[in-house]
Every structure is written in C-alpha cells, then in structure tokens.
C-alpha cells in the first residue's frame, strides 16, 4: 500500500470515530441543551491546544451481543491541552456513545490520563456525562470505577482535580467527583445521586423528581456537594478558567502571581461594619475592600452561607479567605459551615495558599438538631484544619469573637502567624448579656430592681471584656489596628510569612474528625 493510501485510511478511521455516537444521538444531546463532549473540551482549553489520545481504543466485551457493537472511543475522550498557556489533562465522557456508560476500556482511558496528570504534575479536569456502569460488562465496569477512585485519592493534594457534571452522574460514578477538589454543576443539566427517583419510589414509596433529588441547585444549596453553580455550560467553563488562574499547578509550586491592583474605591472599609454588634452586614464587602481590584472569587456561595470562603489576591498573590458571614445566621459555626471551612483550609494548606481569616461570630449554633447532627464532631474539623495547616495564617478580628468560636477561627492558640483586631473587637467567653447573667446571678436576683441591676452589670462586663485590649495585653493579638490600615498590614504580613517553615512530629497522617 502506498503511503498516501495509508494516510487516507488513517483519515477515514479518524473521521469515523470523531462522529461519536452518530447524527441522531448528537441531535438528541443538543436538544437537551447540552454540548457534545468534543465541543466541551474545545470551549474549555486554549484555542487549538487540544491533542486527543486513545482514539481507536475498543472494548472487548463479548456477552449480550456486545461483540457486534462498535462504540467509538468507547464513550470517552481523553487528551491534553493548555489553559492560561499551561498544560492540563482532560477527559470527557461522550453521552452520545452508549450513554457514556463506563466499561473496562472506557475506564482504562480515564485512568491513563489521570496517571499522566499526576506524573506530569498538571491539573486534571473530568467532564462527567454518563448513564453509569456499562451493565453488560459486569464486574469489569465496577473494577474501572475502583481504579478511578484510587487514583483520585492518590492525586488528592498533589495536583488540582476538577469535576464538571454535565449530565447524569449516578450511582458509584458520583464518588469520583466527590473525591476531587472542586465540583462544577450547571442548572437543569447536572444530576447527581446514589439512587435515582425510581429506586426510591419502589423501595420507600417516596416520589420526587430528578431535579429535586439531585439537580444542580440541590447540590449547590442543600448538600454542598457542588462548589460552583452556573446557568450554562459556557458560564461553567469560564468559572473553571477563573479558578485555574488562582491556584498552582501542583503542590510543589505556589500560585503564579499577577500584577497588583488597588481595591475599587466604592468599597470603603471603615463604613461597612456597623458599630452596634447586633447589626448585620455583608462580609463580602469587607473582603472586596481588601483584595486587589476588589475581585473576590467565592466558592460554595449557596451552601452554608454563614461561612464565606474563596480566593482573592493581595499584592498580586493568591490568598484564601475564610470568613464568618454576619448576614446569614449571624455568622455562627454549625455543622455545614464547619465542614465547608475545614475542607477549604486543608485545600489552601495543601496548595501553598496563605489563609486570611476574618472573624465576627457569636459562637457555635445551639440547638437540639445541631447537637444531634454532630456539631461536636463537625466543629472539631475547623480546629483540626487550622491547627494542622502550615501555610501562613493571618487572622483579623473585626467584631465579635466569643467562646469556642474565637478559638476555632484561627486564633493565636492554633498557631496563627499574625492576629490583628479592629478597635470594635469583642473577645470574650460569651456575649455580655449571657456572661453578666451568670457571673452576677446573685446580685441581680437579690436587687430591688433586678432589671436595672442586670443592665448595669451587663454594661460593667462590656466595659471590662468587650474590647480587644485584654487579649492584646496577653499578646494573643499582635496589633489593634484601624480598619483602613488593614490592607497594607495584610500585604506586609503575607510578604513577611512568605518563607515560613515549620515542622511537627513525624507521623504517617493524623486522624481528623471526618
């Protein structure tokens, strides 16, 4: 055969595979408002940067007439491309080919690209759109899932792993995204659950729609499984690009700095926090008044909104923010917000991102449902994560810091590197009302006008403890500062802590209260 014919044959073979599941299946995919797997990759990576591998991989299943079926690419596309000019590894399940079902060769393709990503220290982006295990392949497809989960765990904390749910992701398949760092979902397209509505109906007799059970909104507002919610696939890809601009390519690097920019003038830091400790405000305005260009990239915006987490830059360098949100639930620590903060702290620690903690909280949330939901065990995660973290930890106490909440929110005692407080800070075991009622119980009950006595004692307690100076006199706080000095001091602290190096006792790993 002359070389020309051989090349023509290659072109023919390529064309066949690139047609995916055929016109009909592609039409169906588009009718659902979804892009095809290949279109998704192209819209995500830098222009003309994608190279595909394993185009001609074919399954070997023989049972149930599978030997007569050709599944192009075995239902998944893998390859490498660049984003922000740097290499990334990608796989995208192709729903048009056998519903994107996962068989042995399908999983081998995925694990191959996962191995590349880990070996070459680049982010892994997985686009999930699959009906689940390929039942005809039996235990082989389960083996495939297991191999993927194992690699997810192995890569965890070494390279960034990003999951994009652009279709169904059900049963065992949901555990790969759950093991990755960030999960992106798209309204009306993403669906994640362990057992679907049909099984729930037959076993328990409960009726629920797919959207209400495991749609994008549910996972970004109720379960916390998703980190980023978008209205369209393209918006979701923009979010991924933005995320990758903040984080390093592996745990051996620091994030790439960009040019520093002053915050926007409309955010006036000394006018955001009200003097009355009982008045709420949006802590995101404080963050925006501190970070470069007032650009704050929030993570898990809709879930456990009493804790705000996300990335911003100070002097061009990426920092992670962990902040109480007085606007929601008074900013308390509860089961979900503890979980949210702890995981993010560990992320920042693994990827060399300094943590800035903005504190204003009344403490942990009381209540039977919280206690029974395990607020002890979940709350402990915050303590563990902060204590364990060895990246630069800088704390700014804006207003209330009461009780266990004060300790948990990156206090000096958990080895915060710098702790600053604004003059309005109130650092105490509990709120003045509660504290006065306990300390002066006798005086109050024995007084003629007990209400008047109570008010007087509350005032007394407030004057004594509801300020930052008691903590400052013990050196628990490094400096009491004016709000407008905050940015320059934080910038300074980040630079001072850049070469921070500390060690702890040798161990295989700790036992965090998972």
């Amino acid at each position: 055969m002359p070389l020309k014919r051989k090349i023509q044959e290659l072109q023919k073979r390529r064309e066949e595979v690139l047609a995916g599941g055929g016109e009909k299946a592609i039409e169906k995919q588009l009718a659902m408002g979804k892009l095809t797997a290949r279109e998704r990759i192209i819209s995500l990576v830098d222009k003309n940067s994608f190279s595909e591998y394993d185009l001609f991989v074919a399954h070997e299943a023989r049972d149930f007439d599978m030997d007569k079926k050709t599944l192009h690419g075995d239902g998944v596309i893998i390859g490498t491309g660049t984003m922000h000019g740097r290499p990334v590894a990608i796989f995208a399940q192709d729903f048009t080919v056998a519903g994107g079902s996962l068989g042995l060769m399908h999983s081998r393709k995925i694990t191959k690209i996962m191995d590349y990503a880990l070996k070459m220290r680049m982010p892994l982006i997985g686009i999930n759109d699959s009906g689940g295990a390929r039942i005809q392949e039996g235990v082989n497809s389960l083996a495939g899932y297991g191999e993927i989960f194992f690699r997810n765990t192995l890569s965890s904390g070494v390279i960034p792993q990003i999951s994009v749910i652009l279709g169904p992701c059900a049963g065992g398949a949901v555990y790969s995204p759950a093991l990755t760092d960030f999960v992106f979902v798209v309204d009306k397209i993403s669906k994640m659950f362990i057992t679907g509505p049909e099984v729930i109906k037959t076993v328990l007799g409960e009726e629920i729609s797919m959207e209400d059970l495991g749609g994008a909104r549910i996972h970004s507002e109720i379960t916390g499984n998703a980190h980023f919610f978008a209205k369209s696939e393209i918006e979701s890809f923009d979010q991924i690009k933005k995320l990758l601009s903040f984080i390093p390519w592996s745990n051996a690097e620091a994030p790439t700095p960009i040019k520093s920019k002053e915050p926007k003038k409309e955010y006036k830091i000394d006018q955001i926090v009200p003097g009355d400790p009982k008045l709420p405000y949006d802590v995101r305005d404080v963050i925006k008044s501190l970070v470069d260009d007032s650009d704050f990239f929030e993570i898990q915006e809709g879930w456990a909104a009493n804790m705000v987490i996300g990335f911003g830059r100070l002097g061009g360098k990426t920092v992670g923010f962990v902040c109480n949100q007085p606007l929601v639930l008074a900013g308390v620590l509860d089961v979900d917000s503890s979980d949210k903060a702890a995981r993010f702290i560990r992320y920042c620690d693994a990827f060399n991102i300094p943590i800035i903690t903005l504190v204003d909280l009344p403490g942990y949330l009381p209540g039977v449902d919280q206690e029974h939901a395990g607020v002890i065990r979940h709350g402990a995660k915050v303590l563990y994560a902060y204590s364990e973290a060895t990246v630069a930890k800088i704390t700014l106490i804006m207003r209330k810091a009461y009780g266990g909440g004060y300790i948990a929110m990156s206090s000096r005692h958990l080895r915060a590197d710098f702790v600053f407080a604004w003059p309005a800070a109130e650092i105490a075991v509990m709120g003045p009302e509660g504290a006065a009622n306990i300390i002066f119980r006798k005086e109050i009950s024995e007084a003629e006008d007990s209400e008047k006595m109570r008010r007087q004692k509350v005032k007394e307690y407030k004057e004594k403890f509801a300020n930052p100076y008691v903590a400052a006199s013990r050196g628990y706080i490094d400096a009491v500062i004016e709000p407008k000095e905050s940015r320059s001091l934080l910038l300074h602290a980040i630079n001072v802590a850049e070469n921070k190096s500390i060690g702890g006792p040798k161990k295989k790993h700790g036992i965090p209260p998972f």
């Binding site: 099984v199 037959t202 076993v203 328990l204 409960e206 629920i208 209400d212 400790p277 009982k278 008045l279 709420p280 007085p326 639930l329 008074a330 900013g331 308390v332 009344p362 949330l365 209540g367 449902d369 209330k400 709120g431 009302e433």
Partner: protein
C-alpha cells in the same frame, strides 16, 4: 420468653429491592424522618428560633425584591428577613415581640400577576 418472640418478630420490616424481599430493622431516625415536601416559594420562614423585633409589612402591601419584611433577633444579631422577589403580602402571621420556633411561616406572599387577574 414466649411473650418476647412475637414482639421481636414484629420489629422487622420487609422492603423490596430489585424483586428481592429483605427483612430488616429500621432505625428510629429513619422511621421519624420527614418526607420531602417541595419548598413553598411564597412563604418566608424563620431559619432559627428567635424574637420578632419589628414587622415592616402589612397584608396587601406591594413589596419589591430585597425589601425587609421582618427584623428578627437570634444569635445576638438583628437579622433581616427579606423578600426574594416582587409581589404582594398575603398574610403576616407574627407580631412584634413574638418568640418563634425554627421553620415557622412568618409572612406569606403572592405574585403580582395573580392579584391583577
């Protein structure tokens, strides 16, 4: 002993999964679970127990998204409960000074279109 046996047996419940019947114990948590109800988009509810400090709206009043309906003190904070869309207040079920439990409906609203028709 004789008395115990029937009682023990009755604790088992059977459930059907993929055509196979399984006998099992159900946990108290499972038995007491509240079945899923679609959230009512027209109701503003208390998200934690607390005191009603201020009621800003009356029934029949037109409201805009972001307006404060109720100021609600809980966890040492005067929380604002705001409307999440435009509409008309249908009923106000609390008054100033009330102490409310978690999940209570405080204000019910309806959309503008409905009332115009």
């Amino acid at each position: 002993m004789k008395e115990e046996t029937p009682e023990k047996k009755s604790r088992f419940k059977s459930i059907l999964i993929d055509g196979t019947k399984y006998k099992t114990n159900l946990t108290r948590k499972f038995e007491n679970r509240i079945s899923y109800v679609e959230p009512n988009a027209d109701a503003l509810t208390s998200f934690i127990p607390g005191n009603i400090l201020k009621v800003n709206v009356k029934s029949g009043q037109k409201v805009k998204k972001g307006d404060t309906a109720i100021v609600f003190e809980a966890m040492k904070m005067k929380n604002r409960i705001t409307f999440h869309r435009n509409g008309v207040v249908k009923t106000v079920s609390v008054k100033e000074g009330d102490i409310v439990a978690k999940g209570m409906v405080l204000v019910e609203m309806e959309s503008l279109k409905k009332t115009n028709q």
